[in-house]
């Protein structure tokens, strides 16, 4: 019997993705992403003086990242306080974004990134990273490159791109990957489950291909937002 994904997509199809930037007036930079049924808003504040003062670094800035899922973002209610998973993802997402940010330009300062998941359907960390990268660019933070991310994994023995929540729960492996597309570097590589070496290489290449498609969408939204009027900034 031919392999069919739960939502009818092909093995290398992404879910519909829509990015928007500048969605929050009070934030220095912001972005929103709708990735399949995922709905995530990211706010960036900074660069600003770091508090507590004694933790500030004299030669570089500090990136503080918080990933938080709202209690009713998932099918079953999640308690509002940070879970172990959210604490880990906050750390991991910060580490995925940091290589792209020129923190050496911001001594004694910090940049705060808040990723709020309003609705979750698998792949929230990669959607959050991609949106956070846009929000950082929107804030005018010096960056070496944007960061684009995507997942690949194994479902019913097949390597597929961009797993939704059901595929993530029932599948054999999940591989979130984040890249800096122009510098050709990987900033996040995690794996959940079991893959042979060959399967891992196939999944990794597929995830990178997916991340590059996400990057095209990021470029498009920035161009449309900032260059809508033939070269004049809309903001």
């Amino acid at each position: 019997m031919a392999f069919k994904r739960v939502d009818g997509r092909g093995p290398e199809d992404l879910r519909p993705i829509e990015f928007r930037v500048g969605v929050l007036e009070n934030a220095d930079g912001s972005a929103e992403v709708r990735w399949g049924k995922n709905w995530i808003i990211v706010a960036v504040y900074g660069p600003h003086e770091h508090y507590p003062r004694h933790e500030a670094l004299i030669d570089r800035g500090i990136l503080r990242c918080r990933y938080h899922m709202n209690p009713y973002s998932t099918m079953e209610r999640k308690p509002p306080q940070p879970s172990r998973r959210e604490i880990e993802l906050s750390k991991v997402i910060g580490e995925a974004l940091e290589p792209a940010i020129m923190l050496e330009n911001y001594p004694m300062s910090s940049i705060d990134v808040y990723i709020e998941v309003l609705q979750a359907d698998g792949g929230t960390r990669v959607a959050g990273i991609s949106a956070a990268s846009l929000a950082l660019a929107d804030a005018g933070i010096f960056m070496r490159d944007l960061v684009a991310a995507c997942t690949a994994g194994k479902v019913e023995g097949n390597i597929v791109l961009d797993l939704c929540d059901e595929e993530d729960k029932t599948g054999q492996a999940d591989l979130p990957v984040a890249i800096m597309p122009n510098l050709n570097k990987i900033t996040l590589l995690q794996m959940d489950g079991m893959l042979t070496l060959e399967e891992f290489e196939t999944a990794l290449n597929l995830a990178i291909k997916g991340a590059k498609k996400v990057y095209e969408l990021q470029q498009k939204v920035l161009r449309e937002t900032y260059f809508k009027y033939g070269g004049e900034s809309k903001r």
């Binding site: 660069p47 600003h48 770091h50 792209a100 020129m102 001594p107 005018g140 010096f142 122009n182 903001r235």
Partner: protein
């Protein structure tokens, strides 16, 4: 030199602008033999250098900038001043009291306290820590009035050609306007007149690139 983008092209962080023997200007970075953009903006190629005019940017302090700041902290040897930048600037007490400053005799709080507004210049950008500030004792550096913020890249538009727009606003409203290159503006005057200046600032923020902006602002101020 190989130019991959030309003047006027839109770029985002990471876009390669040029390769080879070329100088990296503001908002760009040399990576290997490539010059890449570090911000969203528009390319400018001039001579042997490429730079990016950022379309969205927080204030980046530079030596010589004249800025408006708010005192955030007072200590024995000076003041920490919020200059709307990534880190607070530091104004040494010697800049105000002179070389004869003696912490056992002179009290910085007697001159400037928290939330006082000052006009100062960036004397130096330190490798570690925030910028070093200095004030002009002759000019008078303490300001009073209402504080407004404008995107730093639009300050030049608010000032206008040779100060034309700011002068016109001061004439029409009777307010005294001090503009900092860091995007902070202090307006001193009657509250109703200050609100007119606030409307003008809104227009500059929303439509900085339209022709005849000065005339439109004067019309709005007179019409109100």
């Amino acid at each position: 030199m190989i130019l991959l983008k030309k003047t006027g092209d839109f770029v985002i962080p990471g876009d390669v602008i040029a390769k080879g023997k070329v100088q990296a200007g503001p908002n760009t970075l040399k990576v290997g033999d490539a010059i890449i953009s570090t911000r969203i903006g528009v390319v400018q190629v001039r001579g042997g250098a490429v730079s990016v005019n950022a379309l969205t940017a927080h204030y980046t302090p530079r030596k010589g900038d004249k800025v408006v700041g708010v005192v955030a902290r007072v200590d024995t040897y000076g003041w920490e001043v919020d200059i709307n930048g990534p880190a607070f600037g530091y104004l040494p007490a010697q800049s105000v009291f002179g070389r004869s400053f003696n912490p056992q005799v002179h009290d910085p709080k007697s001159v400037l306290n928290i939330e006082d507004i000052i006009f100062c210049e960036i004397e130096a950008i330190r490798v570690a820590g925030g910028p070093l500030l200095r004030v002009s004792k002759r000019r008078g550096f303490k300001l009073k009035g209402f504080l407004f913020k404008l995107t730093p890249s639009k300050i030049a538009r608010f000032i206008g050609r040779r100060g034309s727009l700011t002068e016109a606003l001061q004439r029409e409203t009777g307010c005294h306007i001090t503009v900092g290159q860091n995007g902070i503006i202090v307006v001193d005057g009657e509250p109703e007149k200050v609100m007119l200046v606030a409307k003008a600032l809104e227009l500059v923020e929303e439509k900085p690139y339209i022709r005849g902006l000065t005339e439109e602002i004067i019309k709005v101020v007179r019409g109100a």
